[in-house]
């Protein structure tokens, strides 16, 4: 099959970007979207042109590195996958595919389709951890945790930090990302001692980085590759309000 790629090209953070169009022939349905891009890039190199820069690494949907806005959807139209898990069989022969980088003020484009998401790390630095040192911890079975809490905590913890939630949010809000961590730890006894500080500091860091507010449209949970529910945002709101009201 053949597809036409309309791709955002931008030299670096300072330069102006623009769309460019590339026809790609001999695409097979079993190829992943990135394998199709690899094929195009090889051709661009041989033609002496600059290949399209895009972020990717594990290519199995877990590292969270990849993330493209494809035909108006974060990670493409298929539910619960990352861009690297998208296969060409999801497209029609001859289809024009619009490929854009994540758009958010907190994620500046550094080249073509690559954005900088270090703002996520700074949010995590504000409290996305349990303050324990290595060693001196109690036996793992000394703390029983109800299975349903452990399971729900795991639901939240499965966040891969890809930022599809921010990319798809009309407000570029990072609430689902922050909620995933706060929810994970607030469901577990280990997270209790720092519960108050964590909620307040992570929300403050999120606001500081220039992410928007949540208006509860629910788009994030639809686009989340790990299907993290916005009920975790509810829990984050509660944690924050409790923390700021009760202290």
């Amino acid at each position: 099959m053949k597809v036409i790629l309309k791709v955002w090209r931008q030299n670096n953070a300072e330069s102006q970007g623009a769309f460019e169009t590339y026809p790609v022939e001999n695409v097979s349905g079993d190829m992943s979207f990135f394998e199709m891009m690899d094929m195009l890039n090889d051709q661009l190199v041989l033609d002496g042109k600059t290949p399209i820069a895009f972020d990717h690494d594990c290519r199995e949907g877990i590292c969270g590195t990849c993330g493209l806005f494809i035909n108006g959807r974060a990670h493409g139209k298929i539910r619960a996958i990352t861009t690297c898990q998208l296969h060409m069989r999801s497209f029609e022969d001859g289809e024009t595919i619009v490929v854009e980088p994540w758009r958010a003020k907190a994620f500046p484009v550094i080249k073509d389709l690559i954005v900088e998401r270090t703002s996520f790390d700074r949010i995590m630095q504000a409290g996305g951890y349990v303050s324990i040192k290595t060693g001196g911890t109690p036996d793992a079975n000394a703390i029983p945790i109800a299975k349903r809490n452990a399971d729900e905590s795991m639901d939240a913890a499965s966040c891969i930090g890809c930022a599809a939630c921010v990319a798809t949010c009309k407000n570029s809000s990072a609430m689902l990302f922050v909620a995933a961590k706060v929810s994970q730890l607030s469901l577990l006894p280990q997270g209790q001692p720092e519960r108050v500080e964590r909620a307040i500091n992570m929300i403050a860091a999120m606001d500081e980085e220039g992410f928007g507010n949540c208006t509860n449209t629910g788009a994030c949970e639809i686009e989340c590759p790990k299907e993290i529910s916005i009920s975790h945002i509810g829990r984050l709101n509660r944690e924050f309000l409790k923390a700021s009201l009760k202290g």
Binding site: E35, D57, C58, C63, K111, P144, G161, Q184
Partner: protein, 636 residues
């Protein structure tokens, strides 16, 4: 000349004694030391956090934008520990024994025992960090069984154990980043090691966004940069996983141990086309409930559901009645290859075997199967377009893990003083074959519980030592790095980096893959250097050095793989025996099992770089077994 520094005394007391007899750095002096850590996966992040907690100044480097992207994240199945929570007879000694045996008696007793010993601390540590391991209804931790063991000792967090453990180590690391005790350098790739007076004193990096070449000095350098499975082009590694850091260290004098010993994972999704860019692993835990089979008839192209029970060969169950589908990885992989070579392979390419869940679905019900393996089944369906609930999965082995790596002593220090190697990047604990759920264990053991105790012994002698990037060694290394980049960019040939990498991968897969023989290895030793010449004459890289340039990054890595590939073949040729992941066709039993040669090859092959035009020199570290008896592994 290789001093492995294994402490004397009874096996179970070595580590305790060693910790006591090692020199310490006074708590108030720790802040006077700078430590560089390259790579922030499980081993690197846990080491960076633990050393910073102790008070050392840590500079951490990653070519990723965030430590959370490291490929440790992709480990699915679990992490082993000798907790014996299920009360099925596990113990530190049993974990030690299983690991030594699983490694086909090519690892050090003392290292493996220490690994088993600290395994329990790892679980305690991870739980305290808030890692949501799977639990039973009573609230206590759940365990599952894994290949190569007859006890259930694997802790897991759904099919995302590596992710959860990495995020745990990452959380400890960001906590130290927040205090400023760790300075993290994202998107910085180490391109060379800096040596001063024969010791490791810093690194030269390239800022992947701006292309800037920078020097960084420290009192010690730690490499935790993972394995080199990507030498094969197709592997389960992430796209950027590479050997550059350890290869640069090798060329500066660190010995490379057992480079040929590679783990081929039996349960991966088969190659679909020439454009395949990587292979996806399906957790080995699938073999707990899935049954492996091929059609008895050669070249049987019928749909699997049309092949009746008596026309199927459940070859693992037939050959290994006691372990069945749970034989170690090397055995399962080689048997799959053998079945395909004999013409029983399935799928379009004939390079696959079935992993069938029909019985499991009937026995446990679909709901339980969904709960246990749902995400893996979804992943399989997404990639292949086939529904594994209805038709058996097709699987084939793929390069997964490299047991070889830089040689380290008991302190995890390489042959270069001040250079420490952790995790998959070192060779130390898995011998000739790593058991499932042991990689996470080793990475975290090295980072959380071993290096923080051993690094002081070296550093304590360096109190007051000032290392500065003003030293000529830094500017000289920077010049070397820049020249190499300029060389790469000036070639302007007509083959892409991937094109040459694929050719290398094919040579390695065919000749240094699951089964090796003398003529194939000799062919590889002859053809890889030619391919290296071709690369340096004919590769084409567009763009410049002072911008984000992924092709340039890849080129530097492939240039190193081309040299490493040759060493892998040389090591494989040298090792005239079959052991674990290294199978020499000349050395097998009548039943086609690996035949070790303990008389002549019970050693670690550590290779020393002697210069560009000279072959590497082999050093042998004898493996001494005082506690276990060397037997032929049998999983029958």
């Amino acid at each position: 000349m290789l001093n492995n520094k294994i402490p004397s005394g009874p096996l179970a007391e070595k580590w305790t004694h060693h910790k006591f007899s090692s020199k310490l750095v006074n708590p108030s002096n720790k802040r006077k030391y700078d430590i560089i850590i390259v790579g922030t996966g499980l081993a690197g992040a846990s080491a960076a956090a633990s050393l910073a907690e102790l008070g050392y100044n840590v500079q951490a480097f990653s070519y990723h934008e965030s430590p959370r992207r490291a490929h440790s994240i992709a480990a699915q199945g679990g992490i082993n520990a000798a907790k014996n929570y299920p009360n099925d007879g596990d113990s530190i000694y049993r974990l030690f024994y299983d690991t030594i045996k699983g490694g086909d008696y090519r690892s050090r007793e003392a290292n493996v025992y220490r690994l088993a010993e600290v395994s329990n601390n790892i679980i305690d540590q991870c739980v305290a960090q808030g890692i949501p391991f799977a639990r039973e209804y009573g609230g206590l931790l759940d365990n599952r069984s894994f290949g190569g063991a007859q006890v259930s000792r694997t802790f897991y967090a759904r099919g995302q154990t590596g992710q959860q453990l990495l995020l745990g180590a990452y959380s400890a690391l960001v906590r130290q980043m927040n205090t400023g005790q760790v300075k993290f350098h994202p998107r910085h790739e180490m391109l060379d090691l800096v040596m001063i007076d024969g010791e490791a004193k810093g690194i030269v990096t390239r800022n992947l966004i701006t292309g800037e070449i920078q020097s960084h000095s420290a009192n010690a350098v730690v490499l935790a940069t993972g394995g080199y499975g990507n030498a094969f082009f197709l592997s389960t590694n992430a796209m950027a996983s590479n050997a550059t850091a350890i290869w640069r260290a090798y060329k500066k004098g660190a010995f490379f141990a057992n480079p040929c010993i590679t783990q081929i994972h039996p349960t991966c999704i088969p190659v679909a086309s020439d454009h395949q860019s990587k292979l996806t692993l399906m957790s080995e835990s699938l073999r707990n409930d899935g049954r492996v089979w091929v059609p008895k008839k050669k070249g049987d192209k019928r749909h699997p559901t049309e092949i009746s029970e008596d026309e199927r060969d459940y070859y693992l169950e037939r050959l290994y009645p006691s372990f069945g589908n749970l034989v170690p990885r090397d055995v399962a992989s080689r048997r799959a290859k053998e079945m395909c070579d004999l013409g029983h392979g399935v799928g379009e390419t004939g390079l696959a075997v079935y992993l069938d869940f029909a019985d499991a679905i009937e026995r446990m019900g679909k709901d339980v199967v969904v709960q246990k393996y749902g995400n893996l089944f979804d992943m399989y369906k997404q990639i292949t377009g086939e529904n594994p609930y209805e038709i058996p999965m097709r699987i084939y082995p793929a390069v997964h893990y490299t047991m070889g790596g830089l040689w380290v002593d008991y302190n995890l220090m390489s042959t270069i003083p001040g250079l420490y190697i952790l995790g998959e990047a070192n060779f130390s604990d898995h011998g000739a074959n790593r058991l499932g759920a042991s990689a996470l264990m080793q990475g975290l053991a090295d980072g959380y519980f071993i290096l923080p105790h051993t690094i002081g012994d070296y550093l304590s002698g360096k109190l007051g030592e000032a290392v500065s990037i003003e030293n000529d060694a830094f500017s000289k290394t920077e010049t070397d790095v820049k020249n190499r980049i300029d060389n790469l960019l000036s070639i302007n040939g007509n083959r892409t980096v991937d094109d040459i990498h694929k050719e290398l991968g094919l040579i390695l897969w065919e000749n240094v893959g699951m089964a090796r023989n003398k003529s194939g290895l000799e062919m590889a030793i002859e053809s890889i250097p030619k391919l290296k010449d071709e690369f340096w004459k004919n590769v084409k890289i567009t763009g410049t050095a002072d911008e984000l340039n992924p092709e340039l990054e890849k080129a530097g890595r492939v240039a190193d793989f081309l040299e490493l590939g040759e060493l892998m073949a040389r090591d494989a040729l040298n090792r005239e025996e079959s052991c674990g992941g290294h199978f020499r066709e000349e050395h097998q039993t009548k039943e086609n099992e690996a035949k070790r040669n303990d008389e002549e090859f019970s050693y670690v092959a550590a290779w020393e770089h002697k210069g560009e035009s000279l072959p590497a020199e082999l050093h042998k570290e004898e493996l001494i077994f005082e506690n276990v008896e060397l037997t032929t592994r049998s999983y029958k």
